[in-house]
Symmetry: C2
Subunit: 294 residues, 2 copies
């Protein structure tokens, strides 16, 4: 399969869905919609929405309107980046190669833009045009849990903040990363499976895939922060070490971290082997995540 | 009817629901759960959850588990207060007579605590134990719309921020207040009606009631900010004038504002007259909202 073409086609559907759901820059109050769109359409890789669509396709289904559900993952991801970059949190002024949201729109508007994207994600799920109420409710619960404080994204961020400067242990590392990025990536795959009407067995296999991919993603993220330049990453490089973050390279060293990423990719592949050729896009996505350079 | 007893009984159910849904202060990561609970259990009047329950009762129903849905309104309201009080927004250090969330937990944790309450509200709605998937999905859409940027709470906040220092016109005032507090109060009533399985006609009457109560609430809020002390209010008084906010007293003067609040209360009463004696609690709540002193 041609991953580039595959990705381009899926991303185009996700972009179109985001365009439909996010109010236009001219809709009053215009400032907040400009702020939301500034970060949402900043050239993100759309990894989470594409994982969501890929999971449904791995089950041999192409359910109508799945891009509406998938695009809510990008809203959540983007809100978390906007809030993360705030002066009170990571205090970063560069993201995806551009000034961060609060640098352009001010802190007040950046906080509200994050809140708005978070709220809009659930509005879209509650209104999904082509899904049953059963699927709508399940997806709301799934996305909220993956983004929340107990084992979810916010929980991971809090562990991360509290871990700064602490001795980097394997246990703390796992706790942070399983939640901080892992939960939403796993949730992306699960939401696609749920949208497509997966059986319990299918959902279990895809959840395992999502967990391994999530871990691989974070290991690679930690490695890139050490090895790549800010220019390549489009965000400030070397921040983890400067902030004494608990990362895979800090705990295991660079070489072992690379072996671990490879190991997680293999485990991800194994989890979806039962789906055969239909899972090829997901396999290619796992490769893409491990081999990416930014 | 005895409003005090009525309120106490409904509030007790709401408190119990919040206790059940919000992770304990000892659940890791503990800091975020302490921060969430600090603001959530700070002696709020629970006006929105009680309006939600009262709306269901006005239809002659007492649907099981409605307090689970009702308590999500308090989560949204509290998140908005935490974020509103941040230095980048209203920069307030007093709320409900206590130091604001960011003063106690720091700005980073206050931002995340707000995000967490917002996320949890939708998790609860997606999982409502005693509701159908139809009701779950409709409530998610309702709450998200009432809290969002187009005619919802965040939209009102943005209009409010952008209105500071501008000439106080009646048009701008209505735009701000219909959204900033009105939308969530109207949404509270509508969510109770939807939970109770209201017909379209019933929902229309209760929506009108919610709109008038919402407007009355905001007019009284503006009046109290002028007339009462910080001690009575439990938050900084006189801030509206200091920040050149567009308020009812600023546009219409105090006396005319009081007449307008009274007028909205009457309109609210009229909207639910068809429900007869079952609507007595809602009528008493409307009276309470107009006559309150804090």
């Amino acid at each position: 399969m041609n991953l580039k073409e595959y990705l381009a086609a899926r991303i185009a559907r996700v972009e179109a869905a985001l365009e439909r759901w996010v109010p236009a820059e001219t809709t009053p109050p215009a400032t907040i919609h400009r702020a939301m769109r500034y970060s949402l359409f900043a050239g993100g890789k759309r990894v989470r929405p594409v994982l969501c669509i890929g999971a449904a396709e791995a089950l041999g289904r192409e359910p109508r309107g799945i891009e509406d559900a998938a695009c809510t993952l990008e809203m959540i991801h983007t809100y978390s980046l906007i809030h993360d970059d705030l002066p009170a949190l990571d205090n970063d002024d560069l993201r995806r190669g551009r000034p961060t949201n609060h640098v352009v729109f001010g802190e007040a508007m950046a906080i509200l833009a994050g809140d708005s994207l978070l709220t809009l994600a659930f509005e879209v799920l509650g209104k999904l045009p082509h899904a049953s109420n059963d699927v709508r409710a399940r997806l709301v619960a799934e996305l909220a849990t993956a983004s929340g404080t107990v084992g979810g994204m916010i929980g991971g961020q809090v562990h991360d903040i509290e871990g700064e400067g602490q001795p980097p242990t394997a246990e703390l590392l796992e706790q942070i990363h399983r939640a901080k990025t892992g939960a939403l990536l796993r949730g992306s795959v699960r939401m696609g499976a749920i949208y497509a009407g997966a059986t319990d067995d299918e959902l279990r296999s895809l959840s395992a895939f999502g967990e391994h991919v999530g871990l691989a993603f974070q290991i690679v993220d930690d490695i890139l922060d050490v090895e790549e330049s800010s220019e390549t990453l489009g965000k400030t490089a070397g921040k983890d070490q400067a902030q004494q973050k608990i990362t895979f390279p800090a705990v295991y060293g660079l070489d072992r971290s690379k072996v671990m990423a490879e190991h997680e990719r293999e485990a991800a592949r194994a989890a979806i082997q039962p789906f055969g050729v239909a899972a090829e896009p997901l396999l290619a996505l796992a490769d893409f995540i491990v081999k990416r350079k930014a």
